[in-house]
């Protein structure tokens, strides 16, 4: 099993190298100009006002919040899916209870308007 992940580690390392290779090439061969306007932030040709790093609306947070909870619910479904068929009907009912509670959460978020992009 460790051998599998050794392969994956080499894949990631060699892959990072191969992705950086074009960056190294452009660092070596690309022309350089000394023309400050070129390094301005692109804003349709208008001079940039202020930083882009400004405050965002809370709705982004609400969506990612519901996402995190559902993502966590799904991680419990993976081990269940692997063994469910060998365990039989009990596994189905256990999962049904779990999923019903999950759907309750979705219904609550829906009713409270956390899923509206207002």
């Amino acid at each position: 099993m460790l051998l599998d992940w050794g392969y994956v580690a080499i894949f990631a390392l060699v892959g990072a190298g191969m992705v950086s290779l074009p960056l190294l090439i452009i660092w070596l061969i690309s022309p350089r100009s000394d023309y400050p306007q070129k390094f301005e932030t692109y804003e349709s040709g208008v001079p940039t006002i202020g930083q882009a790093w400004s405050q965002f609306h809370v709705r982004y947070y609400l969506f990612s919040l519901v996402f995190v909870v559902f993502d966590v619910e799904i991680i419990y479904l993976y081990p269940w899916a692997v063994v469910a068929r060998s365990l039989g009907a009990a596994a189905f009912w256990e999962m049904l209870v779990f999923l019903v509670i999950l759907v309750l959460g979705l219904a609550y978020a829906w009713r409270r308007g956390a899923l509206e992009w207002t």
Partner: protein, 164 residues
Amino acid sequence: MSGEAIAFYVLAAVTLGSGLVVVTSKNMVHSAAALVPAFLGATGLYILLNAEFVAGIQVLIYAGAITVLILFAIMLTEGGTGLGSRQRNEQAVVGTAVAAAMAALLIVVATRTGWTAGSGTLPPYTPGAIGQSFLRQNILVFEGTSVVLLISLMGAILIARRED
């Protein structure tokens, strides 16, 4: 040195090094971005400990979901970097002392205790074994987590929503 030992030291260095960036960087977004290699390093350690299912979950939840949540929260407050304000309070000395004392204590405990090596072997296929365990012995825990998730979802929506 065996391959496993090299992997261990590299992963430990990655985890602790990025952890150091997380706690010391003045730029909040750099801190949050450094969380990703810290979590991935810990993932590697789980794999060395033959817990590949936990490792997969670690990447999916920590690196893929919690980091996004934290990045969103940073961008929703103060609009990003936090470079404009002081990030450290006056307790730097105390903090270092407390952290060092805690580390020393834990390391002493970890090295002095004679851990008894258990018998038995790890099951080769962890997702299956975890599923068995969840649906047989730990069924209450399994259903309990869904209730915990439901309550935290409701609570978080209640708190985060604009009152209007």
